[in-house]
Symmetry: C2
Subunit: 302 residues, 2 copies
Amino acid sequence: HYSIQKGAAFLGIGIDNIYLVGVDERGKMIPEELEKEIERAKAEGAVPFFVSATCGTTVLGTFDPLQGIADVCQRHGIWLHVDAAWGGSALLSRKHRHLLAGIEADSVAWNPHKMLTVGLQCSAFLLRDSSGLLQRCHGASAAYLFQPDKFYDVSYDTGDKTIQCGRRVDCLKLWLLWKAVGTEGLERRVDRAFAFTRYLAEEVKRREGFQLVLEPEFINLCFWFVPPSLRGKEGSADYWSRLHKVAPAIKERMMRTGSMMVGYQPHGARVNFFRQIVTNPAVTRADLDFFLDEIERLGRDL
Amino acid sequence: HYSIQKGAAFLGIGIDNIYLVGVDERGKMIPEELEKEIERAKAEGAVPFFVSATCGTTVLGTFDPLQGIADVCQRHGIWLHVDAAWGGSALLSRKHRHLLAGIEADSVAWNPHKMLTVGLQCSAFLLRDSSGLLQRCHGASAAYLFQPDKFYDVSYDTGDKTIQCGRRVDCLKLWLLWKAVGTEGLERRVDRAFAFTRYLAEEVKRREGFQLVLEPEFINLCFWFVPPSLRGKEGSADYWSRLHKVAPAIKERMMRTGSMMVGYQPHGARVNFFRQIVTNPAVTRADLDFFLDEIERLGRDL
């Protein structure tokens, strides 16, 4: 994820000190490749200290094999961080939480504002450490802000643990949602999002001109729409360059019409494709059908 | 400000590489002291590159003498940053903007969520540079998030310039307020806050048992409440240690009563004092009188 690059630059670590680990064709980190990179780094005189695994990549919605990665990290004494910003909410579903097996890492990032539709922004940073690491790292003990002589337990004053000073109480939104719909209500949201994706995936396979980029593992539905003019021409020289232009053209039309908004992007060697994600619990099957019908209607003459 | 310490730790610069500059009795940076520190740093083999001046310190509301500081920075080719998070809003008042004379710095931070009461959080970072510095520093050009092949001008996509990825559109709140009350409406808010402070300062001087910590330069009203049992005993050995406990005790009472919330803190050699700041445009003179009366009532028997 590009945040690793930004973080390394920002923290003074330097992007040259990031080692990229090989992945399989779905984008899953290969534990053997991780171990190879760690050994290569050590041989180069570097001190590897941090591995970032991902649960739910941005585009394809891929989950890294956490248990294999954790074994490697443990062997080398390296901090394992899991970026579960996107996929972490699957833990709320008894049916789907297996995707995150092995998430007992040193640190985990999770964004309830993504899949659970808590209002932006609501980010949780979970630490295995219980020795006050954040206080030691970020605490500046500015007594003019965090008075130690209050009449209540000042351990509830968490401000000094954070990086920012003035900031909103973002956790309250999650707490209110949780109180309002309950653990089972959240689970239903998660399960429903998986079911929507399954439904759309089957429709995409059934409909002419629609093509899955890959079978969804999570709730990212990645697909191409192939307009009639390109169907059956996979063998022609300009097929992929022409297909690359289809999603942006349809996106422009949907935005000008005002009927929908849906993201598209290229990914590695794959040309532009749509990425649909449905988390809104108010969405109905009819909306999902409209979504595919509308792409068909807008892209028919391309 | 303690954010400099946090920032230096966080960015990998290291807090040992911060040089503190001497201030006068109000906490204003002394330009001659700045120049001395720069020369000391250079003599020690360091490369000074960044000076942070403050317009509106947290507790006392002090403004650094920007013009003198800018001259020193220019002579040494050092980036001048002005932390106007708190005091920057004074620029909206024709009567009070002189406090910020010389703010034409390399960078300025300003929080409209502070004095203008825009909802938290709303932070502006203003740069003199117009060459795309933020894009070059923070841009990761992740094409799967910031597609270059959109049908509209992608220079409006500012996401890649920022540190965070998912985040709220905080500027909209300021824009809406500005549209709603206008430049003159904002100016009235600023002027009113100064007038409230002036009123309270005069009342504090007039009332027995109240004592200004210093004449307010901005809208921070810093004062002690001296309960009857301590009045006239400034010479006694335990006067200051007893006064130190007064503000926390009154704060506890006001919180338990539920009548008010007001901050207190020690500052340098000064024992705990109240810091009152009134920015809410709905506050009336009667509220200000109640504020002082209530402190008197709650602290009378201490």
